[in-house]
């Protein structure tokens, strides 16, 4: 019986021994969760910005993880150690993060300060350029205003000038004793211009002619017809010729003073258009005359 049983028994013995041996030889199983905690710790240690941030807490966490990894039959104790290790790893991470944030702060403050400075400089520059622009604007406006003022002044001056000129014209015409007629303004120059029977202008007789010159120069659009007249003394031919020469003399004088010859016409009317009776000496004196007829310009009535 022993012999028959012995192989069977030895098989059982071997199996039991193998089981026992396997149990002894196998590395003791690490507690549940300890591997995850170890992985968390390793990850934390692998982050350059955090690995050295909280050395004391890190050491603490490492010891706790080592504890958690110890094979433990007491599952409650094993779970407890894993729990503690997990908290401590998280705590070490949080402390390292705090440390990292604080170490970053100096650089951030520096950046902030730099930005503030730049902003201020920028604002100052803007203000400066605004001021410059405003100043330029003001100056431009001042210039515009000055221009406008000078324009206004000029206009005013021109207005008053033309007013003055109109007044002057009036005055001169009055001085010349110009009579407005259908033909235009008629100026009668008396016989004092010429010596009896002569057609040369007397030297002192040019005052009235100079006034006409000035008038014609001032009002360049006007033209004038110069007409010579005589009294009835002497022959018609002689009077006709004399009146023509006298009219020509006046025209020549005016041309010599700068009045364009095209603006002037000269004609002799002889004794045919008396303005007074030739019977008396006074009447004859009035008839010996040169009339200057200043025509109104067609378009501009003022000139």
């Amino acid at each position: 019986m022993n012999n028959t049983n012995s192989p069977m028994r030895s098989v059982i013995a071997i199996a039991v021994a193998a089981t026992l041996f396997a149990g002894c030889a196998s590395v003791p199983k690490k507690p549940a969760g300890s591997e995850q905690v170890r992985a968390k710790l390793t990850a934390l240690q692998g982050e350059p910005s955090l690995a050295n941030g909280a050395p004391v807490a890190m050491k603490d966490a490492e010891l706790a993880v080592v504890q958690a990894e110890i094979s433990q039959k007491d599952l409650v104790l094993a779970a407890h150690r894993v729990y503690i290790a997990d908290r401590k790893v998280d705590t070490a991470r949080a402390l390292a993060e705090t440390h990292f944030a604080e170490s970053e702060r100096a650089a951030l403050n520096e950046q902030s300060e730099k930005a503030r400075l730049e902003s201020r400089t920028h604002e100052a520059n803007i203000a400066k350029s605004d001021a410059m622009v405003a100043r330029a604007d003001a100056e431009q406006q001042k210039a515009v205003a000055a221009n406008a003022r000078s324009d206004a002044d000029a206009a005013l001056a021109a207005a008053s000038n033309s007013q003055q000129q109109a007044a002057e014209l009036q005055r001169q015409l009055e001085l010349l004793q110009a009579k407005p007629t259908d033909r235009g303004l008629v100026l009668t120059l008396g016989d004092t211009l010429f010596a009896t029977g002569k057609s040369e202008l007397k030297s002192g007789a040019t005052v009235n002619l100079d006034r006409i010159t000035a008038f014609m120069t001032e009002y360049p659009k006007r033209t004038a017809a110069i007409e010579g007249f005589t009294d009835s003394m002497g022959s018609d031919e002689m009077n006709q010729s004399l009146s023509q020469r006298r009219a020509d003399a006046v025209k020549n004088y005016l041309v010599g003073q700068g009045v364009g010859s095209t603006r002037l016409s000269a004609s002799g009317r002889g004794e045919n258009a008396p303005v007074a009776d030739n019977a008396s000496a006074e009447g004859r004196q009035q008839n010996r005359r040169v009339e200057v007829v200043i025509n109104q310009p067609a378009v501009d009535s003022t000139n």
């Binding site: 104790l77 705590t91 949080a94 705090t98 944030a101 604080e102 951030l108 403050n109 902030s112 930005a115």
Partner: protein, 133 residues
């Protein structure tokens, strides 16, 4: 066949020796004392976490610490001193985590404020420059 009863008798004899030794050991050490130090440390850690705004910034962990402390006190009331000590230690670890997280949140918030202010300045400057151009 003879060896079986012989072995059994050896085992019984060993048990007879071991049992009294175990009993004596238990009687000698008695129940572990109340883990007062652990409880106090846990309470202090919780108070510290509350002081540094753990309740608002890392409330989950602080809540867990409080629950663990309650469990510790419960265990101690039930004379489970080992469990009580463990719960107390877990409460302390959780409270310390809460405080550490609160600190990190604050530090990061300060940095974020500085960054935001800086960015605002830079953006404002760029906007003004943009208006110019």
């Amino acid at each position: 066949m003879n060896s079986f009863p012989k072995r059994a008798s050896i085992a019984r004899r060993r048990l007879r020796i071991a049992l009294p030794v175990l009993l004596i050991a238990c009687a000698a050490f008695g129940k572990p004392p109340i883990p007062t130090t652990n409880i106090e440390a846990a309470k202090q850690a919780i108070a510290n976490a509350e002081r540094v705004d753990g309740a608002t910034l890392a409330g989950v962990d602080l809540g867990e610490a409080r629950a663990k402390l309650a469990s510790a006190q419960q265990a101690i009331a039930e004379k489970e001193m080992v469990a009580g000590a463990q719960y107390a230690d877990e409460a302390r670890a959780s409270a310390e985590l809460s405080a550490a997280k609160a600190g990190a949140v604050k530090a990061q918030a300060v940095n974020a404020d500085i960054k935001r202010a800086t960015n605002t300045l830079v953006e404002e400057m760029q906007r003004k420059t943009g208006d110019r151009k």
